[in-house]
Amino acid sequence: MEEQCIRMEQVCYTVGGRVILSDFDMELERGVNRTILGVSGSGKTTILKLILGLIHPQSGRISINGMEITNRPESAYREQRKKIAIVFQGGALFDSMTVGENVGYRLFEEGRLSQAEIEEIVREKLRFVGVEPALDLYPAELSGGMKKRVAIARALAADPEYIFFDEPTTGLDPIGVYNIVSLMNRLQEAGKTTLMVTHDLPTAFATSQRFSLIHESRLAFEGTEAELRDCPLANVQEFLQPTDKSLFV
């Protein structure tokens, strides 16, 4: 039976001699939503890009549902990427396309469905995230929160098993944050598995069951919210409740 998880084992990644990840291990099981925590620049987004094959580790092993994907050619990744969608930090909507074309992009590329079927799916996804009236607008005409919601609709369009979120609430007002959190919870109710990277603790606790914390290129903690709060490690507590000692570190 096919393994139902994304697994990273002993993954090392360096850029220009700087170690970003060292012997990093993580498992994302189907149905268990996880958040990767860590300070800015700690390598959280790198983890998402490694799993998606956008960058390649120097050593270690990454597998999706039991299929190893480490250091394979770009063409080999395309099949695996169908199982995953990502909501980038800035939305990464295609400037030259309308909201509708952005959301239906993968479906148009696959070419399996008719124009009418794609339009129906696009409308349904935009309705789900509450921006259907923006169908014919261009990304430049949208607010930050709307861009993120359109990016979520695009991620949903191809019905992936896993959805990654890269700092989904950064730069949003409280209502925008509430909308995103509520959308993520609805996605989980719909059976999607989410992996989020953030340093926004309230959002993380509102949407995830398990947490990983990166500190100095390594996995410093892995566990539930209760275990995280009770963790005796100084660097974990420093992250949860920064003190004057954290100034300019």
């Binding site: 998606l52 169908k82 909507l93």
Partner: protein, 257 residues
């Protein structure tokens, strides 16, 4: 662990970039014949790269043809050979200046635009988003631009050549040279191989400009400042390579003449 000196590292980086350039160029060329063809993207790029450069190419051709004729007539007049001005303008423009000037105009105007557009897509993670959505980014972003440029630049060069001939005639007519006399000297100065040279050059230049611009754009880093620097680098490199390649292509045609 082997420690490389700074010069070795620079050399390694240079060869790595060189290798990456040829790899991208080969991949983009092969994909011209593979599905999906992205006709819409091709049409958009042809409009952006071709039609939008038409006006500057017409202006460049007109004034270059006029100045070529003017200078030639001054030199030919003491020898009573002003009737040869048509042939002189034709040989200079069709073989050399037409292809080079059109390519330099397009490199400055379109090459920088390609780099800036792709560079912005890279820094805003749009290229990563496309890859995640299962798109072959060479097929989607590079090949339509290459196809459009391979069609547009030769056409622009032919137009530049034609307009420069017209500009040359406007000046020559002031020296009592008839249209028939102006055109008849073309065949005295030009052989069929020269026309082939005039079309081969823009094809090579189109390939170079597009691939350098795309390669530089897709390897952009460092935000808005990085995009600006990449656009500048692409234009300088394209322009220098156009001039260098012009010599080597001319040399090859001289051998076969």
């Amino acid at each position: 662990m082997i420690r490389l000196s700074a010069i070795d590292q620079q050399l390694l980086q240079f060869f790595a970039r060189f290798q990456a350039f040829f790899f991208l160029a080969w991949q983009a060329f092969v994909r011209i014949f593979h599905k999906p063809y992205y006709y819409r993207d091709f049409a958009i790029q042809f409009d952006k790269l071709g039609f939008s450069s038409l006006f500057i190419c017409v202006l460049t051709g007109l004034f270059t043809g006029m100045v070529m004729a003017l200078q030639a007539l001054i030199q030919l007049k003491p020898f009573a050979a002003t009737s040869y001005v048509g042939g002189m303008v034709a040989v200079t423009m069709i073989k050399e200046l037409g292809p080079v000037l059109a390519a330099l105009m397009v490199a400055g105007r379109v090459g920088s635009a390609i780099t800036a557009e792709l560079g912005t897509m890279v820094v805003t993670e749009q290229v990563d988003a496309m890859r995640v959505e299962g798109t072959d980014i060479i097929q989607r972003l590079v090949t339509p631009r290459l196809k459009a440029m391979l069609l547009a630049l030769p056409l622009l060069t032919i137009i530049t050549d034609a307009i420069s001939m017209l500009g040359g005639y406007l000046i020559a007519s002031g020296y009592s040279i008839s249209p028939v006399m102006y055109l008849s000297t073309f065949t005295q100065f030009m052989v069929p191989l020269d026309y082939l040279e005039g079309v081969t050059k823009p094809l090579v230049f189109a390939f170079l400009i597009t691939m350098i611009s795309c390669q530089t754009g897709l390897n952009t880093g460092g935000g808005a400042e990085g995009v600006g620097a990449a656009a500048k680098r692409a234009v300088v490199l394209s322009s220098v390579l156009v001039l260098m390649c012009d010599f080597f292509i001319a040399k090859i045609f001289v051998v076969f003449r």
